[in-house]
């Protein structure tokens, strides 16, 4: 094994061991933890990797593009002396990159001398501004009962074959800064969009590209694509590269940035694979014990800070294996993100779009972005009432399936009616329908008016007097 120091770092010829995407390099001094390397195979082809572990005289390296074609003797590893950085620039909007941030749209390298570490750094909690401004997405199940705020991380939990891509595309297309109900529409600033694909099929990436083109957003979108047939290990970097650009755009150029990451489940797969090859002690379902921290290191790269007017809002998409919300990927994601929008198989079968399963969905920040002077005074209680009524509907449905609908009490019959109408009129809307917040509130009140007043204990009596439209004349 020979060692030479070339410009830009030392080089080692030959590796000690290759296992899956992991190489162990012997020799080499002063290697840094997490340093980037260039790996050259015997034909001179170069791929990149990074250092996962360093010991005296050895380093464990993860090759982003895998180890196919690498040989023990013919491989050269060059240590570049720094952690992984990508160029960042405003002109990256409108461009398409691979999963490591290299242009793949035929255009030139971004012209910039700003390079940023893809790992980012934790935002100091004292530097954050708590999110308060809501984003109107025009979708009732979001704006009404799971309101999204600028600077929030709100994932879509979905399953194979469900329309999460359409929903994400609709959100991106319709998102504007929300306004107080009744106020005239304002010219909202447009979002810059950073889109990262991890292990999804080409049609998915294509679908989003078309959608961005049709809505005229393409010039505001930067796409980072690691597709299904791209090297899985690269997926570890893709969302981080995307978020690095997003941070630059939001915190240095003061833009409002919407980040869509899909599919985080594929990301988790890649992480699990590397962990298994390294023989690490697994926690649940073979995922490494640090999965939570690893996911948090990406999801927490969201929000607003005091030194910039910009913001990062994250919409990660993940498909739940077997629709199981307790699977480690959705589970740990839900523990980190500020709520979740869950898509339901049954609603989807029933032809309801978007099939948002309202009960398990949640926006944790909603309470701070709605109500008086934000949307409308009654909004928080109205939302709680819709939730409570719809939850009751589920119980009534279960009872009806046992004793039969005819046997239900009058009130329970009304709940059934409410539930059906809620799904068909509130949840259901078309892919192109952009509902105003006023409209969403109005539909909700119309549905609540199916129920007797006495059932509506979450809203105030004044609100009932003002908005209730049912035929229950009692006081």
């Amino acid at each position: 094994m020979s060692e030479v120091t070339v410009q830009g770092g030392q080089e080692v010829l030959g590796v000690g061991r290759i296992e899956g995407p992991i190489l162990v390099v012997e020799g080499g001094a002063n290697v840094s933890y997490d340093e980037v390397v260039e790996i050259q195979d015997s034909r001179g082809q170069v791929r990149r990797g990074r250092v996962l572990e360093v010991g005296e005289g050895f380093a464990v390296i993860q090759a982003f593009a895998g180890s196919t074609g690498l040989s023990i003797d013919g491989t050269r590893v060059r240590f570049l002396g720094n952690t992984l950085h990508i160029p960042v620039a405003d002109e990256m909007l409108g461009r398409i990159f691979d999963g490591l941030g290299n242009p793949i749209d035929g255009g030139p390298e971004p012209l910039t001398d700003r390079y940023m570490d893809v790992n980012g750094q934790p935002i100091n909690p004292t530097a954050r501004i708590y999110p308060r401004d809501y984003i109107q997405t025009g979708i009732s199940t979001i704006d009404g009962v799971n309101t999204l705020l600028r600077g929030q991380k709100l994932p879509l939990f979905s399953g194979a074959g469900m329309p999460h891509d359409q929903l994400a595309a609709q959100i991106v297309r319709q998102a504007t800064l929300g306004k107080i109900a009744g106020a005239p529409p304002t010219e909202g600033e447009e979002f810059a969009i950073v889109f990262a694909a991890m292990g999804v099929k080409n049609d998915v990436a294509d679908y989003f590209r078309r959608s961005f083109t049709e809505s005229g957003a393409l010039t505001r979108v930067a796409m980072f694509l690691n597709l299904a047939d791209d090297p899985p290990v690269e997926r570890i970097v893709t969302p981080r590269a995307a978020l690095t650009l997003a941070e630059y755009l939001a915190y240095e150029l003061e833009k409002h940035v919407l980040v869509v990451l899909t599919d985080m489940t594929n990301y988790g797969e890649a992480l699990r694979q590397i962990s298994n090859v390294r023989g690490e002690v697994p926690s649940r379902k073979g995922y490494p014990g640090y999965l939570y921290s690893d996911l948090a290191s990406m999801y927490e790269r969201t929000g607003r800070i005091r030194t910039s007017k910009g913001s990062i809002t994250q919409i990660p998409i993940l498909t739940m294996p077997n629709d199981d919300i307790t699977h480690p990927m959705p589970d740990l994601t839900g523990y980190i993100t500020e709520g979740q929008i869950v898509l339901g198989r049954e609603l989807n079968f029933a032809g309801i779009y978007p099939p948002v399963a309202v009960l398990p969905s949640l926006s944790r920040l909603m309470k701070d972005g709605i109500g008086k002077n934000r949307t409308r005074d009654d909004h928080p209680r109205w939302g709680a009432q819709l939730y409570a009524a719809y939850a009751r509907t589920q119980d009534v449905r279960a009872l009806a399936s046992v004793i039969g609908e005819e046997e239900l009490s009058d009130v329970d019959q009304k709940y059934l009616k409410f539930g059906r109408a809620f799904e068909r009129e509130f949840v259901n809307q078309s892919f192109t329908e952009n509902r105003s917040i006023e409209r969403t509130l109005e539909i909700g009140w119309k549905l609540l008016s199916i129920l007797p007043k006495k059932e509506l204990t979450r809203v105030t009596l004044d609100e009932i007097a003002q908005y209730y439209k049912g035929d229950d004349a009692s006081n």
Partner: protein, 589 residues
Amino acid sequence: MSEQVGTITWISGPVVRARGSRHVGMLELVEVGTERLVGEVIGLKGDQMTVQVYEETAGMQTGAPIFGTGLPLSVELGPGLIQSIYDGVQRPLPLIEEAVGSFINRGARFDSISREKKWKFTPKVKVGDEVKGGAVLGAVMETDTFEHRIMLNPDDSGTISWIAASGEYTVTDVIAKVKMGREEKSVTMLQRWPVRRARPFVSRRGANIPLITGQRILDTFFPVAKGGAAGIPGPFGSGKTVTQHSIAKWADAEIIVYIGCGERGNEMTEVLQEFPHLVDPRTGRPLMERTVLIANTSNMPVAAREASIYTGITIAEYYRDMGYHVALMADSTSRWAEALREVSGRLEEMPAEEGYPAYLAGRLAEFYERAGYVNNLNGTQGSVSIVGAVSPPGGDFSEPVTQHTKRFIRCFWALDKSLASARHFPAINWLDSYSEYLEDVAFWWREKTGKDWLSMRNRAMELLSEESRLSQIVKLVGPDALPYTERMVLETTRLIREGILQQNATESVDAFSSVEKQIRMLELVLYFHERGMAIVRRGAPINLIHDLPVVDTIIRAKSTVTNEEMHKFDDIQKQIDQQMGQLDAEYRS
């Protein structure tokens, strides 16, 4: 200054190995690499030491030096802790922001407690006084209303040979000299204490005063005592954090230590932005003026997350030693356990359950043992109550952290996903939760309210468990099959659930219920039940009770009647009397 004691031989994430084990002690604080990152020795074997590093290690190289300090990982204690926000190893986050901007840079070093700020010191001892460890030497007003007692280090004792006159001093100015044998020791207002060592006290006292949180399901149904330990497990989105925030806001403790351990940045920001504007109902001062925050969020270094729990509890014990009631919130202990697991995994230790190290249970026990209501060294009494959130994977309470925690706490607040989905908050399941402090605090309730709280509480619990039995039947045959007396139970339990158990943390009137309001609400609902029961026994159909207007009034009372308007409950009782009286009269004949 510290000298080089070792050389790094291996790096993997937050764990580093180095040669030079002979020059350091176990749990010694060391400085790692040329940037002198903070670390702690967690293993010694042969020539090798293992160090966990409290900062990001990317870019660190083998061959880099390790410096010893000769000290264990410690916190600084003294005036100026209140209103601070620290990371897991007590670095002041506002100063880091000032120095390096919005993103936390490694290697930033700052004093945990300001060396410049002057405090008005008033001596409490005089020359010649014999003083033992913990003795109160003097006091400063740490906020307008909070007296911070300057205590002699617990390990010291002797005779006061000099004491500073009343006046303004910094925490490093000498304020007393103590003759200890032949030596004379200079004492300042600043103390260091190793975080992994519990601060000593004389003895434990019975925990028989409830920690009043203003949360009805806690105080009325599952109370925790001052000095007690409670666990609050629940899946994501079930209400752990909101409950912890509510306790931090409204609990009747004099000091709150809130540890955001591996959780969201925005949640800490929320506390930072909200607490200065919320008023402590007892002192009339902003809530921030009794709060110390430790924020080691999920994206901050994982080893510092492990330390954050100890940093917090040591600060809590310090205030306890002054004779105060302290409540500590840790959100979430599961993230702390995962930090242990992560470090253990890098050390390739033999895992026990689900990859957690075998010493998980021991560490949890040590932590919860540091709760207590105690007789302090200086003759005062103080308490540390612990409320630990637990985040079980998939919401499955059979996992190791929940199970082990259960062994060391006496109060279990079980959050329930289905209640949360139905927006029944706090989503604490009343059938799965328990408190072992009920008998202990019953006397306090009687003294305070003159009412037999425990019997009323037990009666309500009885009705709730009856409800759960009845609802099984209802699920099979519908409610009509039940006799009216059983349906009366369901009417009442609806009032208990919606009128008492449900409490909206975001609604100003409802967020905090005084003890008086809590017991009065319970009393009213039970009164409603007794009267209703008498009427249905006479054959009145249940829907007549169901349709009484007072039902709605009772359910709304939590947010329509403030803590100051107790007389309004008398009005509601009159309405019950009047409306029930009418029915009663009709069915008496």
